[in-house]
Amino acid sequence: MPNTSHDDDRIEAKFGELRGLREGALIAYLTGGDPDPKTFLANSTALIEGGADIVEIGIPFSDPIADGPVIQASSMRALSNGTTPLRILDMIRELSTEFPVPFVVLSYYNPILAMGLGRFLQKARESGVDGIVVPDLPVEESEEFRNLSLKHNVDTIYLAAPNTSRTRLRTVLDKSKGFLYLVSLYGVTGPRDSLSPQALEAVRAVKSLARGKIPVSVGFGISQPEHVSAVIQSGADGAIVGSALVRIVGNHLDDPSDAETQLKKTVQSLKEATRLSSN
């Protein structure tokens, strides 16, 4: 059986706790092992100290088709220092032992398949992973994966896009656990200056179908506090920020301690924007 020392449904509990505080969740992403294991651990700690509610760690893949240049570059940095899925899970174990925040892993499907679905999910759970996002695994292809995730108590977080039909959206909402990952735009990951025109409309449409049964978090192109507060005020339960943070890592390869300071400060201001009462 999966590791029982780790509480189940911590993602759901976190969203519940934040609802009570009238706050949205700030989900902060970094690519695992970028630019090296030691810096990555320090940067992850900075996210948590800055106030990230949920930490999302990416497993780098050689062919990340849903990612823009910022995360592509971070994946290449991580892979070139020999990062493997198992090493990342070990690092998450270190972090989850020390900090009580929920952890989500993002991985393309092939590295998971290569390890074996059951073995990957069991390892993930033992390392303190609460949920998993697989950007190239739509619900239609994921029956076995979802069954194994349920068995190992790892939440399956599916994605919805602005063009996902209502029929599909119902299925995706029904199959998702932890939260639904709403892609805010047509495109790949990457920081944008402004929120996409479809974003807020998509939030309202998805929220009305979700009927409070599952939290909805918005990602892709969310890089600034104004974006975060706009999606939270439109009803989203969480905002996911990735490339804007990974860019800080990439811009401070020569002065990693400066990256930590910057990350912490950025996360603080993003977190502040999730507080409905102060907006």
Binding site: F61, S62, D63, P64, I65, A66, G68, P69, Q72, M76, L79, T84, P85, L86, Y108, Y109, N110, P111, I112, L113, A114, M115, P135, D136, L137, P138, E140, E141, Y158, L159, A160, A161, P162, N163, T164, S165, R168, V172, V183, Y186, G187, V188
Partner: protein, 400 residues
């Protein structure tokens, strides 16, 4: 070879046994559904079929001959070797069969912006030609390394009116060009048609591209029956993504006495990174939207490939080939760089035909195979393209 009746376990649309499928970001699910629907509708529409047949005949130059290579046959001493002359098509290769079909479909769907990926540039050129002829706007993604290696094709595409986007990510070759085209499509789904060049990617591409290429096998079947009075003993074709091979295999799948051979690029050796032979040297995985055989390391990172023929340089392969191999219906083998060059030289000097380096892989294996068969047997080699594009590379290896 283990033989099964024609594999009927194509479980559901888009699945070849366990292979194929749609492993793509959510944003592509809706456009793939729309594409499948349009494809199904137009593939049954008599006026669409007639229009496409007209383009294939009058613009591309179909039907292509089935040519008895009698000098090569005599030289080898064995089965009669026939060549399906796709090299004689406009653009110089079979790629145009698919680009005309898809470009016409895109036009019917009301999409004016066409994107494509290209490795050696052959699919890019065939896309640019089809788009110019049909009045569509083409943008082609090409790895910057491939652009350096294939300067002439870059110029051809530009002259034909296409825009060429250099791809600087990853290994800067075909696999990265496909990734970049997928990223473009995710971003511009509303007005853009992705014209994939092989039987790879998410459903419906492997099925749709196979159907557009199956004209090769349909013609070849009629021609061999007319010329030989019986079916051939074997069909041989090279496999990169696998579109020319699936195109000629398909009309013979039901004929269990016809052996099917797919020839992958053995490169320098079968060690990691030294070949482009996912079916022979890879294992199951998911790449570019499909479950198939993939050249990858032990933790699932996709490996770079290496072959003298850029058109075979891809770490994945069409999912239908993965199915035909595991079902025992087709056999997949490799031919090395050196053997392909020898075959290029033989065909040039014995028959006066210079094959593309890709097709030279098939020629090489067919020569070995013919020797092992009787003189009453025949085999068909799909001569998928002509060698003009490769002369610079070949001249370095075979100086005169």
């Amino acid at each position: 070879m283990k033989k099964h009746a024609e594999p009927r376990t194509y479980s559901k649309p888009g699945k070849f046994g366990k292979y194929g499928g749609q492993y793509v970001p959510e944003t592509l699910m809706e456009p793939l559904r729309a594409l499948e629907e349009a494809y199904n509708r137009f593939s049954r529409d008599p006026s669409f079929k007639k229009e496409l047949a007209g383009w294939l005949d009058d613009f591309a130059g179909r039907p292509t001959p089935l040519y008895l290579a009698s000098n090569l046959t005599r030289h080898v001493g064995g089965a009669r070797i026939y060549l399906k002359r796709e090299d004689l098509l406009h653009s110089g290769a079979h790629k145009i069969n698919n680009t005309l079909g898809q470009a016409l479909l895109a036009k019917k769907m009301g999409k004016r912006r066409i994107i494509a990926e290209t490795g050696a540039g052959q699919h890019g050129v065939a896309t640019a030609m089809a788009c110019a002829a049909l009045g569509l706007h083409a943008e082609v993604y090409m790895g910057s390394e491939d652009m350096d290696r294939q300067k002439l094709n870059v110029y051809r595409m530009k002259m034909l009116g296409a825009k060429v986007h250099p791809v600087e990510s990853g290994s800067k070759t075909l696999k990265d060009a496909i990734s970049e085209a997928l990223r473009d499509w995710v971003t511009n789904v509303q007005d853009t048609y992705y014209l994939l060049g092989s039987v790879v990617g998410p459903h419906p591409y492997p099925t749709m591209v196979r159907d557009y290429q199956s004209v090769i096998g349909k013609e070849a079947r009629k021609q061999i029956l007319r010329q030989e009075g019986k079916l051939p003993k074997a069909i041989v074709a090279c496999v990169g993504g696998g579109s020319n091979s699936i195109g000629i295999f398909h009309s013979f799948l039901h004929e269990v006495d016809v052996d099917l051979y797919g020839v992958e690029a053995g490169g320098e050796s079968l060690s990691p990174g030294q070949n482009a032979a996912p079916l022979v040297a890879g294992r199951e995985g998911v790449l570019h939207g499909m479950m198939t055989y993939v050249l990858q390391d032990e933790v699932g990172q996709v490996q770079t490939t290496r072959s003298i023929s850029a058109g075979l340089d891809y770490p994945g392969v069409g999912p239908e080939h993965a199915f035909l191999m595991t079902a025992g219906r087709a056999k997949y083998v490799t031919v090395s760089n050196e053997e392909a060059l020898e075959a290029f030289e033989s065909l040039s000097q014995l028959e006066g035909i210079m094959p593309a380096l890709e097709s030279a892989h098939a020629i090489s294996y067919a020569m070995k195979l013919a020797k092992s068969l009787g003189t009453k047997d025949s085999i068909i080699v799909n001569l998928s393209g002509r060698g003009d594009k490769d002369l610079e590379i070949i001249a370095k290896h075979l100086p005169r």
